[in-house]
Amino acid sequence: MAYSEKVLDHYTHPRNVGTMDKNADEVGTGLVGAPECGDVMKLQIKVNPETKIIEDAKFKTFGCGSAIASSSLATEWVKGKTVDEALQIRNTDIVKELSLPPVKIHCSVLAEDAIRAAISDWKKKNN
Protein backbone atom coordinates (compact mmCIF):
# COMPACT_ATOMS: atom_id res chain seq x y z
CA MET A 1 0.00 0.00 0.00
CA ALA A 2 1.33 3.41 -0.86
CA TYR A 3 1.18 6.04 1.87
CA SER A 4 0.65 9.71 1.17
CA GLU A 5 3.57 12.06 1.74
CA LYS A 6 1.79 13.62 4.69
CA VAL A 7 1.16 10.28 6.40
CA LEU A 8 4.80 9.37 5.92
CA ASP A 9 5.88 12.73 7.30
CA HIS A 10 3.76 12.38 10.45
CA TYR A 11 4.87 8.78 10.86
CA THR A 12 8.54 9.66 10.53
CA HIS A 13 8.33 12.90 12.48
CA PRO A 14 5.33 12.58 14.78
CA ARG A 15 4.38 15.91 16.39
CA ASN A 16 3.66 16.32 20.07
CA VAL A 17 4.48 12.84 21.28
CA GLY A 18 4.34 12.53 25.03
CA THR A 19 2.36 12.38 28.17
CA MET A 20 1.00 15.03 30.49
CA ASP A 21 -0.09 14.59 34.08
CA LYS A 22 -3.56 13.12 33.70
CA ASN A 23 -4.45 14.15 37.25
CA ALA A 24 -3.83 17.85 36.63
CA ASP A 25 -7.02 19.92 36.51
CA GLU A 26 -6.14 21.68 33.28
CA VAL A 27 -5.37 18.41 31.49
CA GLY A 28 -8.00 16.35 29.67
CA THR A 29 -7.18 12.81 28.59
CA GLY A 30 -8.88 10.73 25.92
CA LEU A 31 -8.07 7.06 25.50
CA VAL A 32 -9.94 5.45 22.62
CA GLY A 33 -9.77 2.24 20.64
CA ALA A 34 -8.84 -1.22 21.87
CA PRO A 35 -5.71 -3.35 21.56
CA GLU A 36 -7.57 -6.27 20.00
CA CYS A 37 -8.81 -3.95 17.26
CA GLY A 38 -5.24 -2.90 16.52
CA ASP A 39 -5.72 0.78 17.37
CA VAL A 40 -5.42 2.65 20.65
CA MET A 41 -5.02 6.41 20.79
CA LYS A 42 -4.27 8.51 23.83
CA LEU A 43 -4.70 12.22 23.27
CA GLN A 44 -4.22 14.83 25.97
CA ILE A 45 -4.98 18.52 25.98
CA LYS A 46 -3.91 21.24 28.38
CA VAL A 47 -6.50 24.00 28.59
CA ASN A 48 -6.03 27.54 29.85
CA PRO A 49 -8.75 27.91 32.51
CA GLU A 50 -9.28 31.61 31.65
CA THR A 51 -9.35 31.62 27.86
CA LYS A 52 -10.40 27.97 27.32
CA ILE A 53 -7.66 27.81 24.72
CA ILE A 54 -5.86 24.51 24.28
CA GLU A 55 -2.29 25.53 24.97
CA ASP A 56 -0.68 22.15 24.58
CA ALA A 57 -1.55 18.71 23.26
CA LYS A 58 0.23 15.38 23.41
CA PHE A 59 -0.48 11.96 21.98
CA LYS A 60 0.62 8.38 21.98
CA THR A 61 -0.80 5.88 19.52
CA PHE A 62 -0.67 2.14 19.04
CA GLY A 63 -1.80 1.55 15.50
CA CYS A 64 -0.91 1.65 11.85
CA GLY A 65 0.90 4.54 10.20
CA SER A 66 -2.37 6.23 9.30
CA ALA A 67 -3.54 6.03 12.92
CA ILE A 68 -0.28 7.56 14.11
CA ALA A 69 -0.52 10.30 11.48
CA SER A 70 -4.19 11.04 12.28
CA SER A 71 -3.51 11.52 15.96
CA SER A 72 -0.32 13.48 15.35
CA LEU A 73 -2.26 15.80 13.06
CA ALA A 74 -5.07 16.07 15.61
CA THR A 75 -2.66 17.38 18.25
CA GLU A 76 -1.36 19.97 15.80
CA TRP A 77 -4.86 21.13 14.95
CA VAL A 78 -6.25 21.40 18.45
CA LYS A 79 -3.36 23.47 19.70
CA GLY A 80 -4.25 27.16 19.84
CA LYS A 81 -7.96 26.45 19.39
CA THR A 82 -10.55 26.95 22.08
CA VAL A 83 -12.28 23.85 23.38
CA ASP A 84 -15.40 24.69 21.39
CA GLU A 85 -13.41 25.24 18.22
CA ALA A 86 -11.61 21.93 18.68
CA LEU A 87 -14.98 20.19 18.84
CA GLN A 88 -15.60 21.36 15.28
CA ILE A 89 -12.77 19.23 13.90
CA ARG A 90 -14.26 16.46 11.81
CA ASN A 91 -12.72 13.17 10.82
CA THR A 92 -13.40 14.07 7.19
CA ASP A 93 -11.02 17.03 7.55
CA ILE A 94 -8.33 14.58 8.66
CA VAL A 95 -9.09 12.22 5.77
CA LYS A 96 -8.73 15.10 3.35
CA GLU A 97 -5.56 16.51 4.84
CA LEU A 98 -3.78 13.14 4.97
CA SER A 99 -5.35 11.73 1.77
CA LEU A 100 -6.40 8.61 3.65
CA PRO A 101 -7.75 5.74 1.54
CA PRO A 102 -11.21 4.33 2.41
CA VAL A 103 -9.79 1.43 4.45
CA LYS A 104 -8.09 3.96 6.74
CA ILE A 105 -11.07 6.19 7.44
CA HIS A 106 -11.56 4.50 10.81
CA CYS A 107 -8.19 5.96 11.86
CA SER A 108 -9.54 9.46 11.35
CA VAL A 109 -12.74 8.57 13.18
CA LEU A 110 -10.68 7.39 16.10
CA ALA A 111 -8.69 10.63 16.11
CA GLU A 112 -11.90 12.68 16.21
CA ASP A 113 -13.12 10.45 19.04
CA ALA A 114 -9.85 11.01 20.89
CA ILE A 115 -10.25 14.79 20.69
CA ARG A 116 -13.83 14.54 21.95
CA ALA A 117 -12.88 12.14 24.72
CA ALA A 118 -10.07 14.44 25.90
CA ILE A 119 -12.36 17.47 25.93
CA SER A 120 -15.08 15.52 27.70
CA ASP A 121 -12.58 14.45 30.38
CA TRP A 122 -11.44 18.05 30.83
CA LYS A 123 -15.05 19.27 31.07
CA LYS A 124 -15.85 16.65 33.68
CA LYS A 125 -12.97 17.87 35.81
CA ASN A 126 -13.79 21.53 35.44
CA ASN A 127 -17.55 21.70 35.77
Binding site: V32, G33, P35, C64, G65, A67
Partner: protein, 414 residues
Protein backbone atom coordinates in the same frame (compact mmCIF):
# COMPACT_ATOMS: atom_id res chain seq x y z
CA UNK B 1 28.93 -10.09 14.44
CA UNK B 2 29.62 -7.24 12.06
CA UNK B 3 26.49 -5.61 10.77
CA UNK B 4 28.35 -3.01 8.72
CA UNK B 5 28.97 -5.34 5.79
CA UNK B 6 27.39 -3.93 2.68
CA UNK B 7 23.86 -5.14 2.06
CA UNK B 8 21.83 -4.44 -1.03
CA UNK B 9 18.47 -2.85 -0.29
CA UNK B 10 15.65 -3.69 -0.25
CA UNK B 11 16.18 -7.01 1.53
CA UNK B 12 13.84 -9.86 0.67
CA UNK B 13 12.95 -11.88 3.78
CA UNK B 14 9.48 -13.06 2.82
CA UNK B 15 10.36 -16.50 1.52
CA UNK B 16 7.11 -18.08 2.71
CA UNK B 17 5.25 -15.91 0.24
CA UNK B 18 7.47 -16.83 -2.66
CA UNK B 19 11.11 -17.35 -3.45
CA UNK B 20 13.45 -16.00 -6.04
CA UNK B 21 13.86 -18.39 -8.97
CA UNK B 22 17.25 -20.02 -8.63
CA UNK B 23 19.45 -19.04 -11.60
CA UNK B 24 20.15 -22.73 -12.18
CA UNK B 25 16.41 -23.35 -12.46
CA UNK B 26 15.98 -20.45 -14.85
CA UNK B 27 18.83 -21.71 -16.99
CA UNK B 28 17.29 -25.17 -17.22
CA UNK B 29 13.94 -23.68 -18.26
CA UNK B 30 15.06 -21.20 -20.90
CA UNK B 31 15.39 -23.58 -23.88
CA UNK B 32 11.78 -24.64 -23.32
CA UNK B 33 10.59 -21.10 -23.91
CA UNK B 34 12.56 -21.03 -27.14
CA UNK B 35 13.53 -23.71 -29.59
CA UNK B 36 11.92 -26.59 -27.65
CA UNK B 37 8.27 -25.80 -27.85
CA UNK B 38 6.50 -29.07 -28.56
CA UNK B 39 3.34 -30.23 -26.86
CA UNK B 40 4.16 -33.13 -24.56
CA UNK B 41 0.90 -34.76 -25.60
CA UNK B 42 1.86 -34.85 -29.27
CA UNK B 43 2.54 -38.54 -29.68
CA UNK B 44 3.42 -38.70 -33.36
CA UNK B 45 6.34 -36.36 -33.95
CA UNK B 46 9.69 -35.47 -32.54
CA UNK B 47 8.68 -32.10 -31.14
CA UNK B 48 6.23 -33.87 -28.86
CA UNK B 49 8.67 -36.61 -27.92
CA UNK B 50 11.32 -34.14 -26.82
CA UNK B 51 8.82 -32.21 -24.74
CA UNK B 52 7.56 -35.45 -23.22
CA UNK B 53 11.10 -36.46 -22.30
CA UNK B 54 11.58 -33.17 -20.48
CA UNK B 55 8.29 -33.65 -18.65
CA UNK B 56 9.19 -37.20 -17.67
CA UNK B 57 12.57 -36.07 -16.36
CA UNK B 58 10.92 -33.30 -14.32
CA UNK B 59 8.35 -35.68 -12.94
CA UNK B 60 11.13 -38.06 -11.95
CA UNK B 61 12.96 -35.27 -10.07
CA UNK B 62 9.80 -34.34 -8.17
CA UNK B 63 9.12 -37.98 -7.31
CA UNK B 64 12.66 -38.50 -6.07
CA UNK B 65 12.47 -35.56 -3.68
CA UNK B 66 9.47 -37.03 -1.86
CA UNK B 67 10.15 -40.74 -2.20
CA UNK B 68 7.43 -41.35 -4.77
CA UNK B 69 7.40 -42.82 -8.27
CA UNK B 70 7.02 -40.67 -11.37
CA UNK B 71 3.62 -42.19 -12.16
CA UNK B 72 2.29 -40.83 -8.88
CA UNK B 73 3.02 -37.20 -9.78
CA UNK B 74 0.14 -35.15 -11.20
CA UNK B 75 1.26 -31.81 -12.54
CA UNK B 76 -0.91 -28.81 -11.65
CA UNK B 77 -0.71 -25.03 -11.60
CA UNK B 78 0.41 -24.89 -7.96
CA UNK B 79 -0.49 -25.82 -4.42
CA UNK B 80 -3.91 -24.13 -4.43
CA UNK B 81 -5.00 -26.29 -7.34
CA UNK B 82 -3.39 -29.36 -5.74
CA UNK B 83 -5.31 -28.83 -2.52
CA UNK B 84 -8.58 -28.27 -4.37
CA UNK B 85 -8.06 -31.32 -6.54
CA UNK B 86 -6.99 -33.58 -3.68
CA UNK B 87 -9.83 -32.69 -1.33
CA UNK B 88 -12.66 -32.27 -3.83
CA UNK B 89 -11.41 -35.20 -5.91
CA UNK B 90 -11.32 -37.56 -2.93
CA UNK B 91 -14.64 -36.28 -1.58
CA UNK B 92 -16.38 -36.93 -4.87
CA UNK B 93 -14.73 -40.32 -5.43
CA UNK B 94 -15.32 -41.73 -1.96
CA UNK B 95 -18.68 -40.19 -1.20
CA UNK B 96 -20.31 -43.62 -1.08
CA UNK B 97 -17.89 -44.62 1.64
CA UNK B 98 -18.48 -41.63 3.87
CA UNK B 99 -19.02 -37.91 4.00
CA UNK B 100 -16.72 -36.79 6.80
CA UNK B 101 -13.47 -34.87 6.36
CA UNK B 102 -11.07 -33.73 9.08
CA UNK B 103 -8.77 -30.74 8.77
CA UNK B 104 -7.44 -28.08 11.14
CA UNK B 105 -8.18 -24.41 11.75
CA UNK B 106 -4.73 -23.16 10.72
CA UNK B 107 -4.74 -24.62 7.22
CA UNK B 108 -4.22 -22.38 4.22
CA UNK B 109 -7.38 -20.67 2.95
CA UNK B 110 -7.44 -22.87 -0.13
CA UNK B 111 -7.94 -25.92 2.10
CA UNK B 112 -10.40 -24.25 4.47
CA UNK B 113 -12.50 -22.71 1.71
CA UNK B 114 -12.51 -25.97 -0.23
CA UNK B 115 -13.83 -27.71 2.89
CA UNK B 116 -16.43 -25.00 3.41
CA UNK B 117 -17.65 -25.50 -0.13
CA UNK B 118 -17.91 -29.25 0.45
CA UNK B 119 -19.98 -28.57 3.56
CA UNK B 120 -22.50 -26.84 1.31
CA UNK B 121 -22.64 -30.03 -0.72
CA UNK B 122 -23.53 -32.20 2.24
CA UNK B 123 -20.13 -33.13 3.62
CA UNK B 124 -19.38 -32.86 7.30
CA UNK B 125 -16.05 -31.25 8.16
CA UNK B 126 -14.25 -31.23 11.50
CA UNK B 127 -11.82 -28.34 11.95
CA UNK B 128 -9.40 -29.43 14.63
CA UNK B 129 -8.11 -26.71 16.94
CA UNK B 130 -4.38 -26.35 17.53
CA UNK B 131 -2.44 -26.15 20.77
CA UNK B 132 -0.62 -22.96 21.77
CA UNK B 133 2.46 -24.24 19.95
CA UNK B 134 0.44 -24.54 16.72
CA UNK B 135 0.45 -28.33 16.58
CA UNK B 136 -2.68 -30.45 16.54
CA UNK B 137 -3.45 -32.90 19.32
CA UNK B 138 -3.25 -36.46 17.99
CA UNK B 139 -5.79 -37.66 20.52
CA UNK B 140 -8.28 -35.12 19.28
CA UNK B 141 -7.64 -36.29 15.74
CA UNK B 142 -8.16 -39.88 16.75
CA UNK B 143 -11.36 -38.99 18.60
CA UNK B 144 -12.69 -37.06 15.63
CA UNK B 145 -12.43 -40.03 13.28
CA UNK B 146 -15.63 -41.96 12.65
CA UNK B 147 -16.69 -44.70 10.26
CA UNK B 148 -17.77 -41.94 7.90
CA UNK B 149 -14.33 -40.28 7.79
CA UNK B 150 -12.82 -40.53 4.32
CA UNK B 151 -10.05 -37.95 4.43
CA UNK B 152 -7.75 -36.13 6.81
CA UNK B 153 -6.02 -33.02 5.45
CA UNK B 154 -3.28 -31.57 7.63
CA UNK B 155 -0.46 -29.42 6.30
CA UNK B 156 3.15 -30.47 6.81
CA UNK B 157 4.47 -26.98 7.56
CA UNK B 158 2.40 -23.90 8.28
CA UNK B 159 2.86 -20.93 5.96
CA UNK B 160 2.45 -18.28 8.65
CA UNK B 161 4.22 -19.63 11.68
CA UNK B 162 6.44 -22.27 10.09
CA UNK B 163 5.60 -25.02 12.54
CA UNK B 164 5.82 -28.65 11.45
CA UNK B 165 2.87 -30.91 12.19
CA UNK B 166 3.56 -34.51 13.27
CA UNK B 167 2.56 -35.83 9.86
CA UNK B 168 4.18 -39.22 10.28
CA UNK B 169 2.04 -39.94 13.34
CA UNK B 170 -1.02 -38.43 11.67
CA UNK B 171 -0.46 -40.63 8.63
CA UNK B 172 0.00 -43.70 10.78
CA UNK B 173 -3.23 -43.02 12.58
CA UNK B 174 -5.05 -42.53 9.27
CA UNK B 175 -3.68 -45.77 7.83
CA UNK B 176 -4.68 -47.70 10.94
CA UNK B 177 -8.23 -46.50 10.48
CA UNK B 178 -8.29 -46.82 6.71
CA UNK B 179 -8.65 -43.08 6.15
CA UNK B 180 -6.80 -41.26 3.37
CA UNK B 181 -4.24 -38.66 4.43
CA UNK B 182 -3.61 -35.54 2.38
CA UNK B 183 -0.89 -33.11 3.36
CA UNK B 184 -0.29 -29.64 1.94
CA UNK B 185 3.49 -29.82 1.74
CA UNK B 186 4.00 -26.56 -0.16
CA UNK B 187 6.11 -25.07 2.63
CA UNK B 188 7.78 -28.31 3.73
CA UNK B 189 8.81 -30.31 0.67
CA UNK B 190 12.31 -29.36 -0.37
CA UNK B 191 13.02 -27.63 2.94
CA UNK B 192 12.80 -30.47 5.45
CA UNK B 193 12.84 -34.24 4.87
CA UNK B 194 9.46 -35.24 3.49
CA UNK B 195 8.95 -38.79 2.32
CA UNK B 196 5.51 -40.02 1.34
CA UNK B 197 6.30 -43.63 2.30
CA UNK B 198 7.95 -42.96 5.67
CA UNK B 199 5.49 -40.20 6.49
CA UNK B 200 2.44 -42.31 5.54
CA UNK B 201 1.08 -39.68 3.17
CA UNK B 202 -1.45 -40.58 0.46
CA UNK B 203 -1.75 -37.23 -1.26
CA UNK B 204 0.70 -34.33 -1.05
CA UNK B 205 0.63 -30.84 -2.56
CA UNK B 206 3.82 -29.23 -3.79
CA UNK B 207 4.48 -25.83 -5.28
CA UNK B 208 7.52 -24.88 -7.38
CA UNK B 209 7.74 -21.22 -6.44
CA UNK B 210 8.15 -21.96 -2.74
CA UNK B 211 11.36 -23.84 -3.49
CA UNK B 212 13.13 -21.44 -5.86
CA UNK B 213 11.24 -22.62 -8.92
CA UNK B 214 8.81 -20.75 -11.18
CA UNK B 215 5.32 -19.60 -10.25
CA UNK B 216 2.29 -21.29 -11.77
CA UNK B 217 3.38 -24.91 -11.50
CA UNK B 218 3.03 -27.53 -8.81
CA UNK B 219 2.57 -31.22 -8.31
CA UNK B 220 0.09 -33.39 -6.51
CA UNK B 221 1.36 -36.72 -5.29
CA UNK B 222 -1.35 -39.36 -5.59
CA UNK B 223 -0.44 -42.72 -4.08
CA UNK B 224 -0.78 -45.73 -6.40
CA UNK B 225 -0.18 -48.59 -3.98
CA UNK B 226 -1.23 -49.41 -0.41
CA UNK B 227 -3.69 -47.86 -0.84
CA UNK B 228 -4.35 -46.91 -4.44
CA UNK B 229 -5.91 -43.47 -4.32
CA UNK B 230 -8.44 -42.43 -6.92
CA UNK B 231 -9.63 -38.93 -7.67
CA UNK B 232 -12.46 -37.45 -9.63
CA UNK B 233 -10.96 -34.83 -11.94
CA UNK B 234 -12.14 -31.32 -11.26
CA UNK B 235 -11.51 -30.04 -14.77
CA UNK B 236 -12.77 -31.66 -17.94
CA UNK B 237 -10.66 -31.90 -21.04
CA UNK B 238 -8.14 -34.03 -22.85
CA UNK B 239 -7.57 -36.46 -20.02
CA UNK B 240 -3.96 -35.50 -19.33
CA UNK B 241 -2.20 -36.69 -16.17
CA UNK B 242 -3.89 -40.08 -16.10
CA UNK B 243 -7.24 -38.41 -16.38
CA UNK B 244 -6.83 -36.50 -13.16
CA UNK B 245 -5.90 -33.10 -14.55
CA UNK B 246 -6.60 -32.07 -18.10
CA UNK B 247 -4.75 -29.28 -19.82
CA UNK B 248 -1.64 -29.01 -21.99
CA UNK B 249 1.39 -29.46 -19.81
CA UNK B 250 3.44 -26.44 -18.86
CA UNK B 251 6.72 -27.87 -20.15
CA UNK B 252 9.10 -25.07 -19.10
CA UNK B 253 7.36 -24.92 -15.72
CA UNK B 254 7.74 -28.66 -15.20
CA UNK B 255 11.41 -28.51 -16.15
CA UNK B 256 11.81 -25.72 -13.61
CA UNK B 257 9.85 -27.56 -10.93
CA UNK B 258 11.98 -30.64 -11.48
CA UNK B 259 15.24 -28.73 -11.35
CA UNK B 260 14.11 -26.91 -8.21
CA UNK B 261 13.31 -30.24 -6.56
CA UNK B 262 16.66 -31.69 -7.60
CA UNK B 263 18.59 -28.75 -6.15
CA UNK B 264 16.50 -28.75 -2.99
CA UNK B 265 17.24 -32.42 -2.47
CA UNK B 266 20.97 -32.01 -3.10
CA UNK B 267 21.38 -28.98 -0.89
CA UNK B 268 18.82 -29.64 1.83
CA UNK B 269 21.15 -30.75 4.61
CA UNK B 270 23.60 -27.92 4.14
CA UNK B 271 21.02 -25.29 3.36
CA UNK B 272 18.83 -26.03 6.35
CA UNK B 273 21.87 -25.83 8.61
CA UNK B 274 22.78 -22.43 7.21
CA UNK B 275 19.19 -21.12 7.44
CA UNK B 276 18.84 -22.39 10.98
CA UNK B 277 22.02 -20.62 12.05
CA UNK B 278 20.83 -17.35 10.49
CA UNK B 279 17.37 -17.67 11.99
CA UNK B 280 18.78 -18.30 15.43
CA UNK B 281 21.06 -15.30 15.04
CA UNK B 282 18.07 -13.15 14.10
CA UNK B 283 16.06 -14.44 17.03
CA UNK B 284 18.95 -14.00 19.43
CA UNK B 285 19.70 -10.45 18.32
CA UNK B 286 16.07 -9.42 18.61
CA UNK B 287 15.19 -11.13 21.88
CA UNK B 288 18.37 -10.00 23.62
CA UNK B 289 17.68 -6.35 22.84
CA UNK B 290 13.92 -6.09 23.27
CA UNK B 291 11.57 -7.00 26.09
CA UNK B 292 8.04 -8.28 25.55
CA UNK B 293 8.65 -10.18 22.32
CA UNK B 294 6.91 -13.50 21.80
CA UNK B 295 7.74 -16.27 19.35
CA UNK B 296 4.59 -17.61 17.72
CA UNK B 297 4.50 -21.38 17.40
CA UNK B 298 6.73 -24.21 18.47
CA UNK B 299 10.47 -23.52 18.35
CA UNK B 300 11.15 -27.24 18.39
CA UNK B 301 9.03 -28.26 15.41
CA UNK B 302 9.74 -25.53 12.91
CA UNK B 303 11.06 -24.90 9.42
CA UNK B 304 14.70 -23.85 9.60
CA UNK B 305 14.23 -20.46 7.90
CA UNK B 306 11.03 -19.48 9.63
CA UNK B 307 10.44 -17.08 12.50
CA UNK B 308 7.19 -15.41 13.54
CA UNK B 309 7.48 -12.87 16.33
CA UNK B 310 4.98 -10.63 18.07
CA UNK B 311 6.37 -7.34 19.31
CA UNK B 312 3.89 -6.52 22.04
CA UNK B 313 2.48 -2.98 22.17
CA UNK B 314 3.57 -2.23 18.59
CA UNK B 315 1.13 -2.57 15.69
CA UNK B 316 2.40 -4.68 12.79
CA UNK B 317 1.65 -2.38 9.89
CA UNK B 318 3.32 0.58 11.56
CA UNK B 319 6.33 -1.65 12.13
CA UNK B 320 6.39 -2.67 8.48
CA UNK B 321 6.24 1.01 7.55
CA UNK B 322 9.33 1.66 9.61
CA UNK B 323 11.26 -1.11 7.92
CA UNK B 324 10.20 -0.31 4.40
CA UNK B 325 13.51 -1.47 2.98
CA UNK B 326 12.87 -4.97 4.33
CA UNK B 327 10.26 -7.28 2.79
CA UNK B 328 8.48 -9.30 5.49
CA UNK B 329 4.81 -9.95 6.36
CA UNK B 330 2.58 -9.15 9.30
CA UNK B 331 -0.47 -10.82 10.81
CA UNK B 332 -1.91 -7.41 11.53
CA UNK B 333 -5.44 -6.75 10.35
CA UNK B 334 -4.29 -3.62 8.59
CA UNK B 335 -2.14 -5.65 6.23
CA UNK B 336 -4.84 -8.11 5.28
CA UNK B 337 -7.53 -7.73 2.68
CA UNK B 338 -10.21 -8.77 5.15
CA UNK B 339 -9.17 -6.31 7.89
CA UNK B 340 -9.09 -9.23 10.30
CA UNK B 341 -5.95 -10.16 12.17
CA UNK B 342 -4.36 -13.48 11.25
CA UNK B 343 -6.67 -16.40 11.95
CA UNK B 344 -3.63 -18.62 12.37
CA UNK B 345 -2.21 -16.52 15.21
CA UNK B 346 -5.66 -16.17 16.76
CA UNK B 347 -5.96 -19.95 16.72
CA UNK B 348 -2.87 -20.19 18.95
CA UNK B 349 -4.93 -18.41 21.59
CA UNK B 350 -2.49 -15.61 22.21
CA UNK B 351 -5.12 -12.91 21.75
CA UNK B 352 -5.84 -10.58 18.90
CA UNK B 353 -3.42 -7.93 20.09
CA UNK B 354 -0.44 -10.21 19.60
CA UNK B 355 -1.69 -11.10 16.13
CA UNK B 356 -1.77 -7.38 15.30
CA UNK B 357 1.83 -7.10 16.51
CA UNK B 358 3.30 -10.00 14.59
CA UNK B 359 5.97 -10.12 11.93
CA UNK B 360 6.81 -13.16 9.86
CA UNK B 361 10.42 -13.51 8.80
CA UNK B 362 11.14 -16.03 6.06
CA UNK B 363 14.81 -16.66 5.47
CA UNK B 364 15.79 -18.30 2.23
CA UNK B 365 18.58 -19.51 0.02
CA UNK B 366 19.71 -16.05 -1.03
CA UNK B 367 19.78 -14.33 2.36
CA UNK B 368 23.09 -13.57 4.03
CA UNK B 369 24.22 -13.12 7.61
CA UNK B 370 24.94 -9.46 6.84
CA UNK B 371 21.28 -9.05 5.89
CA UNK B 372 20.21 -10.75 9.10
CA UNK B 373 22.33 -8.30 11.08
CA UNK B 374 20.89 -5.35 9.22
CA UNK B 375 17.33 -6.56 9.73
CA UNK B 376 17.84 -7.24 13.44
CA UNK B 377 19.35 -3.82 14.06
CA UNK B 378 16.61 -2.07 12.13
CA UNK B 379 13.79 -4.00 13.79
CA UNK B 380 15.14 -3.26 17.24
CA UNK B 381 15.45 0.47 16.43
CA UNK B 382 11.97 0.77 14.97
CA UNK B 383 10.28 -1.25 17.72
CA UNK B 384 11.96 0.96 20.33
CA UNK B 385 10.85 4.09 18.50
CA UNK B 386 7.26 2.88 18.12
CA UNK B 387 7.10 1.87 21.75
CA UNK B 388 7.99 5.43 22.66
CA UNK B 389 4.83 6.27 20.75
CA UNK B 390 2.75 3.49 22.22
CA UNK B 391 0.23 4.26 24.97
CA UNK B 392 0.05 0.53 25.66
CA UNK B 393 3.77 0.20 26.30
CA UNK B 394 3.56 3.20 28.62
CA UNK B 395 0.66 1.62 30.52
CA UNK B 396 2.49 -1.68 30.68
CA UNK B 397 5.52 0.09 32.15
CA UNK B 398 3.27 1.76 34.71
CA UNK B 399 2.22 -1.68 35.80
CA UNK B 400 -1.30 -1.51 34.40
CA UNK B 401 -2.77 -4.87 33.43
CA UNK B 402 -4.05 -4.15 29.93
CA UNK B 403 -6.37 -7.12 29.98
CA UNK B 404 -8.29 -5.49 32.83
CA UNK B 405 -8.71 -2.10 31.16
CA UNK B 406 -12.17 -1.29 29.91
CA UNK B 407 -11.53 -0.11 26.37
CA UNK B 408 -13.76 2.44 24.69
CA UNK B 409 -13.69 0.65 21.38
CA UNK B 410 -17.01 2.07 20.29
CA UNK B 411 -17.13 5.60 18.95
CA UNK B 412 -17.55 8.15 21.72
CA UNK B 413 -20.58 10.37 21.37
CA UNK B 414 -20.94 13.55 23.36
Amino acid sequence: MASDEAVKLPIYMDNHATTRTDPRVLEAMLPYFGEIYGNAASRNHEFGWIAEQAVDAGREQVAKLIGATAKEIVITSGATECNNLAIKGVAEMYREKGNHIITEVTEHKCVLDTCKRLEKHGFRVTYLPVKTDGLIDLNQLSDAMTDDTILVSIMAANNEIGILQPIREIGKLCHEKGVLFHSDAAQAAGKVPFNVIEDNVDLASISAHKIYGPKGVGALYVRRRNPRVQLVAQMDGGGHERGMRSGTLNVPGIVGLGKACEIAQQDMAEESKRLLAMRESLREQITSQLDEVYINGSMEHRLPGSLNISFAYVEGESLLMGISDIAVSSGSACTSATLEPSYVLKALGAGDELAHSSIRFGLGRFNTQAEVNYVATKIVDVVKRLRELSPLYEMHKEGIDLSKVKWAAEPVNH
